[in-house]
């Protein structure tokens, strides 16, 4: 074996050039840089690349088009000695070489010659012949003459087969003995036995009897299955009318079946019949009677019989001799499936199969009967608001319509209380005990009552009487509020109709609240408890009680003259919250103390979450620290406008405002501030905190002002000042502090520090600056203590 292997090595034939053997130590080849990557044409000349849009590779000589002349057309030259050759331009002359290549537009491919071609007809050639026949001697003839003259030609394949002993009509393959052949046919029968023509087998059986043992037979020829593609636009299975049949003699004997698929069979059938009959010329039929030339008149009174017509679409099943062709499974199986036949009696077209599952028939229910007086038009009732219409009109409306349009309760079911839900459902109120107290034993109840009465006695002395159900200690605090509400409302102020309705969405609750307010006005001390719904649970009542009291305090009546000037906005927008940075700085007080003690570090440092803009991170080449978040800067939260903190700042600012404005007006850069307040760290700290507070106040004031001031820009300094003056006039020493310094400076220019406030003078101190400027040299000079250079250039 080994030896033979070695031998076989030598026997190998090698094609092509072998790759260079790889050397282990060889360094990895570097990729050729771009400037060394060159392209050469067929003749080995360098081609220059000009870029795709400027012509690609250079062509021809000096970037012309392949000829010396380039784009310039060759002129016609002809002389006596040298005649111009007549040039027959072919399309190929104008085509590039690439076009002839494999992927070009006119590839030059290898085509089998006619000798080797199969017998399949060339469609293009047929068509060409048909076209040419129109212009031929005998019109309509498709190569009749040609066929007469054409040499008998058979393809190479047929020739070869013949040389191998094949004869026409035989099948291809080795010769078989009788038995083998029979087995083969049996095998076929198993698969497509039903399709076999029954006659053929019998005849073979007959042959069987006197077949000698040693004789071999050629295999049976195979009828090729013609899978003709569908090219016409007829329906499936439709063949169109054959004029020969329709107009020829076939009409009387056979019905023209347009749906025959077994074209071969039927046509052969027709052929048989036609051959048996005498063919008639011309048009024949019952409508035309019998012509003089016709010798047969039997059929004049033609009687059409139903047997001439197909009662079943498609007629009998084909026994087509598709020998050797295994039909698709469903095609063969279809026969045995009796159920299918029951469901569908018609013939199944080729390519279609019966559905395996019967589609369910949808039951269609008839629409309900409409009531007799139903009119298919909807009438929209005009919406009438009770409050806007005069009571008489409202009553009239109520009488006529039966009811007024009411605001449908739009809250969710959770916002309704149990009684409301009960009313909506139409249930009767429960008869059982409404309070836990009723479940208690009589002794316990008495004891509780005693305790309660004692508590009542105690409360009566100090504050308003406690409602008897107020048992929790927290309620004692609430009592002060109820008192406040009582005080606020008991005065002879605005009437209830003009007061704010906080529970407008819940009419029942609003009604109870109104009752409560009305009682408050009368000075009823038991107003709250008596106006509540006794059927509600204790907890619900407790909650409502709190709500009412709070609402009464919050929406206490203002001066009627004032309140009449304001109207409540129709739609409540979400203005009850303000955006506040989430993280707040720690107490400045502590920090100030820490700074004083020089304890920098934890005490003086606040660390906040801060979101840089994505682009900023990109520009800084830093990954986004919060990839998912969309916030920028400090995270903000919405805070209730009426939060405790807001109130705190307001009250703070009110006490600061007495002396606040001066802090407000100046910055810590200002010298003037220091004049009024000597270097006292405590006062410095105070001013610091105050200024912060006043900043908050300013913001609020600004927000207020934005509504009436047309421009949304931050207020100018003068405006601010005016406003402050309106509010509270700052004490005299403030003005002194401000103006005294500037006047000092006026007199003694030596005190440079006062006048020479550089930059950071805050906007609020603008008036001061202006006043200084009018008296002193311009700002540029102020900053440099030296004589103003820009003004007096001659000095230097």
């Amino acid at each position: 074996n080994m030896a033979s292997d070695e031998d076989s090595d030598e026997d190998f034939v090698t094609y092509g050039t072998p790759l260079e053997p790889l050397e282990e130590d060889e360094p990895i080849r570097k990729p050729v840089p771009v400037h060394e990557q060159t392209v050469k044409d067929e003749k080995g000349r360098y081609k220059r690349f000009h870029g795709a849009f400027t012509g690609g590779f250079s062509a021809g000589y000096f970037n012309t088009v392949g000829s010396q002349e380039g784009w310039t057309p060759s002129t016609f030259v002809s002389s006596r000695q040298q005649k111009a050759e007549r040039q027959n331009a072919r399309p190929e002359d104008f085509m590039d070489e690439e076009d002839f290549s494999e992927h070009g537009i006119a590839p030059r491919e290898i085509v089998t010659t006619e000798d080797f071609a199969s017998e399949r007809k060339d469609q293009l050639k047929d068509k060409a012949r048909a076209v040419s026949s129109l212009a031929a001697l005998i019109p309509g003839d498709t190569g009749l003459l040609e066929e007469l003259i054409a040499p008998a030609r058979s393809s190479i394949g047929v020739e070869l087969l013949r040389k191998m002993g094949w004869k026409d009509g035989q099948g291809v393959g080795p010769r078989l003995k009788r038995r083998q052949r029979k087995q083969n046919t049996d095998a076929v029968k198993v698969h497509g036995g039903a399709l076999l023509p029954s006659g053929s087998e019998e005849s073979e059986d007959e042959d069987d009897e006197f077949a000698p043992e040693n004789v071999t037979f050629a295999p049976k020829d195979v009828v090729p299955v013609d899978f003709t593609p569908k090219v016409d636009s007829h329906g499936l299975g439709y063949r169109g009318l054959n004029p020969l049949q329709a107009l020829g003699g076939g009409s009387e004997s056979a019905h023209i079946n347009l749906f025959t698929l077994q074209s071969d069979r039927t046509s052969s059938l027709f052929g048989d019949r036609n051959s048996g009959q005498k063919r008639r010329g011309g048009i024949a039929g019952q409508a035309f009677g019998v012509g003089a030339m016709e010798n047969e008149d039997a059929d004049i009174y033609h009687k059409d019989s139903m047997s001439n017509y197909d009662t079943v679409l498609g007629g009998e099943e084909p026994g087509d001799g598709l020998y050797g062709w295994t039909a698709p499974q469903q095609y063969t199986r279809k026969k045995n499936d009796s159920k299918r036949d029951v469901v569908y009696l018609g013939r199944i077209l080729d390519g279609f199969t019966l559905a395996s599952q019967v589609t369910e028939i949808k039951t269609v229910y008839p629409p309900p009967d409409l009531p007799r007086d139903y009119r298919p038009v909807h009438y929209f009732r005009p919406v009438v608001d009770l409050s806007t219409v005069s009571p008489i009109v409202a009553q009239a409306l109520q009488a006529s319509r039966g009811h007024l349009s009411q605001d449908a309760p739009q809250q969710g079911r959770h916002s309704l209380d149990s009684s409301q839900r009960r009313d909506m459902l139409g249930e009767t109120p429960l008869q059982g005990p409404s309070s836990v107290f009723e479940l208690l034993g009589s002794k316990d109840r008495e004891r509780l009552n005693e305790i309660r009465s004692v508590a009542k006695e105690q409360n009566k002395s100090s504050t308003a009487p406690q409602p008897d159900s107020l048992t929790s200690p927290a309620k004692t605090q609430a009592s002060s509020e109820t008192q406040m509400a009582l005080n606020a409302w008991s005065g002879p102020t605005a009437d209830a109709s003009k007061t704010f309705k906080p529970f407008q969405k819940n009419p029942q609750k609003q009604a109870r609240y109104d009752l409560y307010i009305n009682k408050l006005k009368k000075g009823d001390k038991e107003a709250l408890e008596s106006s509540l719904d006794s059927s509600m649970t204790e907890w619900e009542r407790g909650r409502e009680r709190d709500e009412f009291v709070r609402a009464a305090v919050l929406y206490k009546p203002s001066n009627s003259s004032l309140s009449s000037r304001f109207t409540r906005s129709k739609n409540e927008d979400d203005t009850d919250s303000v955006e506040v940075t989430r993280d707040q700085e720690n107490d400045v007080d502590d920090k100030q103390a820490a700074v004083k003690m020089k304890m920098f570090g934890k005490l003086t440092r606040d660390t906040f979450e801060w979101h840089p803009e994505k682009l900023l991170c990109k520009r800084f080449n830093v990954p986004d620290p919060y990839p998912g978040s969309s916030t920028v800067g400090m995270p903000k939260i919405k805070r209730d406008k009426y939060s405790v903190f807001n109130f705190l700042t307001i009250t703070d600012s009110s006490h600061v405002s007495r002396e606040g404005p001066k802090v407000n007006k100046k910055s810590r850069w200002d010298k003037t501030g220091k004049v009024s307040e000597p270097k006292d760290p405590l006062s410095a700290f105070l001013s610091e905190t105050r200024s912060e507070v006043s900043v908050a106040k300013q913001i609020e004031a600004g927000a207020k002002n934005q509504t009436d001031s047309s421009h949304t820009e931050p207020k100018t300094d003068e405006e601010e000042k005016e406003e402050d003056e309106e509010e509270v006039r700052p004490p005299m020493d403030l003005f002194k502090a401000i103006f005294a310094s500037s006047s000092d400076e006026k007199s003694s220019s030596s005190s440079e520090e006062d006048s020479e406030e550089e930059e950071v003078a805050p906007s609020t101190s603008e008036p001061i600056q202006i006043s200084a400027e009018t008296l002193n040299p311009p700002v540029s000079a102020q900053i440099t203590p030296a004589p103003d250079i820009s003004k007096v250039p001659g000095i230097i």
Binding site: T607, H611, G633, V760
Partner: protein
Amino acid sequence: MAFPQPRPQVPQLPQHLLRTIECQQGAVRAVRFNADGNYVLTCGSDKSLKLWSVSRGTLLKTYTGHGYEVLDVDSSYDNSQLCSCSSDKTVILWDVASGQVTRKLRGHAGKVNCVQFNEEATVMLSGSIDGTVRCWDTRSRRYEPIQILDEARDGISSLKVSEHELLIGSVDGRVRLYDLRMGQLHVDFIGSPITCVCFSRDGQCTLSSSLDSTVRLLDKSSGEMLGEYSGHVNKGYKLDCCLSDKDTHVLSCSEDGHVYFWDLVEGSLTLKLPVGKAVVQSLSFHPTEPRLLTAMEGHVQVWGAEPEDAAVEDG
């Protein structure tokens, strides 16, 4: 800890006057070295910005375009661009070679005190008296800032940019350190209005001077105070402070006409360099060499470690 190791040899301090440049542009609001320290930029109160050569003291270019006095300037790392800010509320990006205005950015509500490029000159940051720091994109044509940092409650007096951090000093007495990488904002309470902030060269400390005539060295990560330097006068002016080229000394301008040098570690006053009679407005330390620029009134002085004979004459 972030204390740099003291060097064995005594660091040389720029105490010899090499040159005096008369800028002829009114009061010099700020003087700055460029990125490599070969050139000087001066901001004048006559709306002009001037570029000088340090070695020869000659004027190379004047940049005009601001509508009011120029307050601060910074040069890009590649010396191709300048950014400057002015009292006219604008920030201008200049092309150095042509002297043309590349971009003029408006948006601040008040005068702009300080301006700084980031490391790659892709962003300009400007701090204004309106209390905001605006980050301007130099790459895009947008005229809106990328982001506005409005956390400060008073005007911004000074800002510095490191690789990924923004150090911002405000008149509200706080030094804010924005860490872009961590997405955090550290606020250090100093108490007194900040006049100048800067990073140490090793990036571990921050230096801040405030109107209580004190310069404080804080640890950047924790906010603890590492050193406190006082003795100079800084009560009303926005005066600069800085660290020397090797982080050995802390320098500050003073209103008494001196520049104060403190030893960084010991905190002791090393040198009190007399500059003139007036206030030393601005100073700038050379990035690598012991060389110092001071601005007083209308002139700029260049200080070096060794005296240079020829230098004195061309003043």
